[in-house]
Amino acid sequence: MYTWLILPFSNNEFMRNALVAGILVSVLCAVAGTFVVLRGLAFIGDALAHGVLPGVAGALLLGAPGMLGAAVGSAVMIVGVSFVTNRSGLSSDTAIGLLFVGMLALGVIMVSRTRGESFNGDIVRILFGELLGIRSSNVVVLAIAAVVISACVALLYRPFLLLCFDPEQADVSGFSSRSYHAIMLVMVAATVVVSFQAVGTLLVFGMLIAPASTGALLARRIWAMIAWAIGIGVASVYVGLLLSYHYGTSAGATVVFVTVGAFFVVLVGQVVGRSLAPARRKPLPTSAAGVA
């Protein structure tokens, strides 16, 4: 058992680096993903994760850092969605869909114009990540981002809570829903930009949504939801890497599959549990429930 569970990490530096990077991605995505789930930003999160593709591809073509290209791609996506929503009168879902498809198409066009095999290899790395080939510098960036994003959420907890609960109440309480919504989007974009090198643009979305969704099923408080999401994300990274090591599967994809699987295990468990023991509503005290 020890050989199966521990040795892959103790014997291989790349596995240890992957584990550390995966844990940091889990923390980042759990914190940002909690608000993606609560605020109903899953679609824009998906669009951001995919919309960075042309930015990263462009950066690679120009020899610039991929993370810079991803940041530009995210910025174009956010500004584009805001522009279309504000100027067309169409819903934000439609605007996100337009930008999402447009950016993805642009990324594919840029790939198709480049025939070189090495470039195609880079694109595969962008899409599916390089968890097993993560560099120390990436780990440092992930660690800094995890601290910054967590501090940001701690500082902005009150407006973020109001925004998720009732945007009108946020405005009435003196916290501009428009401004804090924009800050939340930037936070999600930053998470995508720094995480994609580890788990890839296609899979970062899964890490944003799945652990936080499972946390929403289990938690009664937002902090508990974040804690659950971190725990589930970290456990998924560990189990996913082990399975990937022993069965030779793609590391990033295995990690995300495990975390999505955890969601369905918890959901089915709750549905079965509720059907066996239906919840009872707590009544008001006699004095409050009586007739005046």
Binding site: V37, L38, G40, L155, L156, R158, P159, L161, L162, C164, F165, D166, E168, Q169, D171, V172, S173, G174, F175, A216, A219, R220, R221, I222, A224, M225, A279, R281, K282, L284, P285, S287, A288, A289, G290, V291, A292
Partner: protein
């Protein structure tokens, strides 16, 4: 003379460039209450949102707490209509009431003993202290409404803006709500309520009858009469005076014969 807490002159409210109600002029002094009465879509919520600064006035002037709408968040409390998005958020009842202190605390203000005391007093008044640790989504509609009213009370605001505050409340809950309003008025706050409940409106100092235009504005005894209510709701309502409250019952329908209580 005490400064008015709410002052509108020739005010037009609406969305975008489309006016919903025009020519609203009213003044609300400390300790006064105003009921906005009308059917769905009559302009009640539009006026409330304009008072809160959530949508801009289309014409005329509007002073809220001596300033432009939306610029005095610490002095205003708002009860909106129930929103299903709230059920996604894993949150306990007491945390919802604590949100009532967020405007006063700001971004980083530390919760004080007084804040905790205000939250406790509000929950005690609404008789929901035993629900404090319950998840909001597990509560009934009436229990949730009590929690939201406790949040309003915990704000200790100078202007209370309430949209359908008695929705889902049982008789005891309505009594707690009525006392909440009386306490607020007694300490000099003003209360604006959008309601379908004509009995509740009859207890206010002013009533504004709306039907995408102003039907009538004045003291309840002047405007809550059969002719005005027919113009507002399209049905005949007749008032019955009891010792401590009014009841309104459906009278003869213009084109029918149904009879029954209005609320």
């Amino acid at each position: 003379m005490t400064a008015a807490l709410l002052e509108a002159a020739a005010l037009t409210v609406g969305y975008g460039t489309d006016p919903v109600v025009e020519g609203i002029s009213l003044t609300l002094q400390p300790g006064e209450s105003l009921a906005l009465v009308g059917t769905n879509g009559s302009g009640k919520s539009t006026l409330l949102k304009t008072i809160l600064g959530l949508i801009p006035p289309l014409a005329g002037s509007l002073d809220v707490l001596g300033s432009k709408p939306g610029t005095r968040p610490k002095r205003i409390a708002y009860l909106g209509q129930a929103h299903t998005a709230r059920f996604v958020v894993p949150i306990r009842a007491i945390e919802v009431v604590r949100m009532g202190r967020f405007a006063a605390l700001g971004l980083l203000g530390r919760t004080s003993d007084r804040d905790r005391q205000l939250v406790h007093e509000a929950m005690t008044h609404m008789e929901v202290t035993h629900l404090a640790d319950e998840p909001l989504r597990s509560l009934s509609g009436g229990q949730q409404q009590r929690i939201y009213l406790a949040q309003v009370m915990a704000r200790v605001a100078d202007l209370l803006v309430l949209d359908e505050p008695t929705g889902g409340l049982d008789v005891a809950g309505r009594e707690r709500y009525r006392e909440l309003v009386e306490l607020a008025l007694a300490r000099g706050a003003a209360v604006v309520t959008a309601t379908h409940d004509i009995g509740e409106a009859a207890g206010c100092d002013q009533v504004l009858l709306l039907n995408r235009r102003i039907i009538a504005h004045g003291a309840p005894q002047d405007v809550l009469n059969t002719a005005m209510l027919l113009e507002t709701f399209g049905i005949t309502l007749q008032g019955i005076q009891h010792d401590d409250h009014h009841d309104f019952v459906i009278g003869e329908m213009p084109h029918g014969h149904d009879h029954g209580h209005s609320h």
